[in-house]
Symmetry: C2
Subunit: 242 residues, 2 copies
């Protein structure tokens, strides 16, 4: 019986892979994933079989991997960032119930909250929340409640999917909810194309963030009340006294 590795490949190409992710890809006879991410790995594995499906074909992609594994193959199902954070680990573990005997191994990777934070400085140096603004699979009411609770708890917040092709005002709506509790001067940051061509960061206030542009390649950070701007970086102190 075969095996599916759900592999987080980090934000970019080879340099963001962990040794364990590399070993799982080495061990796999085929690699499956969204086209953009599979292409990042192609130079490392020019001769390996690759199959790919469109952006929203997640369930189809999981089933394709599970079917091959049931036929005895070892499949690497790759995800940008981490496999568990809004990644393919959940759906593949749920669907695996229908493919008895297939072993699932989740190989963790550097998720955008962590890689974007590193570019900006250390915005997640203390307690934080990660919230996706995508309402494709979640009611906006739930998202709004979570934003309100995150602000109420004075967490630093990392937002995934701040925009999509179809939704342009999502970030603005989210900022409006956060602004009910958080100061308009709260230090915020945007990291875009992390680990890829066109990588860039911007540090701004929450008031400015409300009217800023963040596309589907952006990850957004909102500080807690103790987050500071230090020499062009965004830093949330752990609380150490100097």
């Amino acid at each position: 019986m075969g095996k599916v590795y759900a592999v987080g490949i980090g934000p970019g190409g080879a340099e963001s892979l962990t040794g364990a992710a590399r070993a799982a890809l080495d061990a796999a006879d085929c690699i499956c994933g969204y086209t953009l991410y599979v292409e990042l790995l192609r130079p490392l594995y020019p001769d390996k079989e690759v199959f790919s499906t469109g952006m929203t074909g997640e369930i189809e992609r999981c089933r394709a991997c599970l079917k091959r594994a049931q036929a005895g193959r070892t499949v690497a199902l790759v995800c940008s960032g981490d496999a568990g954070v809004y990644g393919m680990a959940s759906p593949v573990l749920e669907l695996a119930e229908e493919y008895p005997g297939v072993e699932i191994v989740v190989v963790p990777g550097v998720t955008a909250a962590v890689s974007g934070a590193a570019l900006l400085g250390a915005p997640l140096g203390h307690d934080f929340c990660v919230i996706s603004l995508s309402d494709r699979l979640t009611d906006w009411n739930v998202i709004e409640t979570r934003l309100r609770c995150a602000a109420e708890g004075d967490f630093s917040v990392c937002l995934y999917n701040p925009a999509s092709r179809h939704r342009k005002d999502t970030l603005q709506r989210a900022c409006d909810v956060l602004l009910e509790r958080k100061s308009p001067e709260t230090v915020c940051g945007i990291a875009r194309n992390i680990g890829r061509e066109g990588e860039q960061i911007r540090i701004l206030t929450l008031k400015e963030l409300r009217d800023a542009e963040a596309d589907m390649f952006s990850t957004v950070f909102i500080g807690s009340s103790s987050t500071k701007r230090i020499g062009g970086r965004m830093v949330t102190p752990r609380g150490y006294k100097k």
Copy 2:
């Protein structure tokens, strides 16, 4: 003028390093960090200068790195997991103001929320909070408010520092706060010694977690209301329909 890399080395040894972390360690003329983590790297760099300080000597450690960098050296300041999540990136960026000209580069790594989640399945497949239960640098009131907000928002929650040598009832107190809002049947997990010898996981209910033992080498996960136990794993669905 020199440089300090704040490097997240992931949970374990060589296999949890990313390519970028490896490159930073290669480039450094010396490696600094808490003894346990530096020892994990020793086999990779047997000939490199290493210096180390005790567990709570964080500020002293940052200053030692910054001083060497100011003298023109390239220093790798290593952190278990990620450098930004309760790591050394924040204090070194804060202190760097006093050492003008020293460049700080944060190299992200796989933090325990992500590596522990992979071992357990996919508990962080949807929105989540990360909260440290250490009251060494944070008032317990703040921690309690954040726990309450996390429960109110029906987040999955990952707890760092669920216990220490001195505090034995911290996890119990945290569970009592969460139980005000979360069901006692909420699916929870404990990951211990992630990526190291003695690695183990346990899946249990929130009611059981309240009376469970979690030591300083444990990371604790509390599900949202949609988190399920599937074939011995803890899975929070992204919401995909099958």
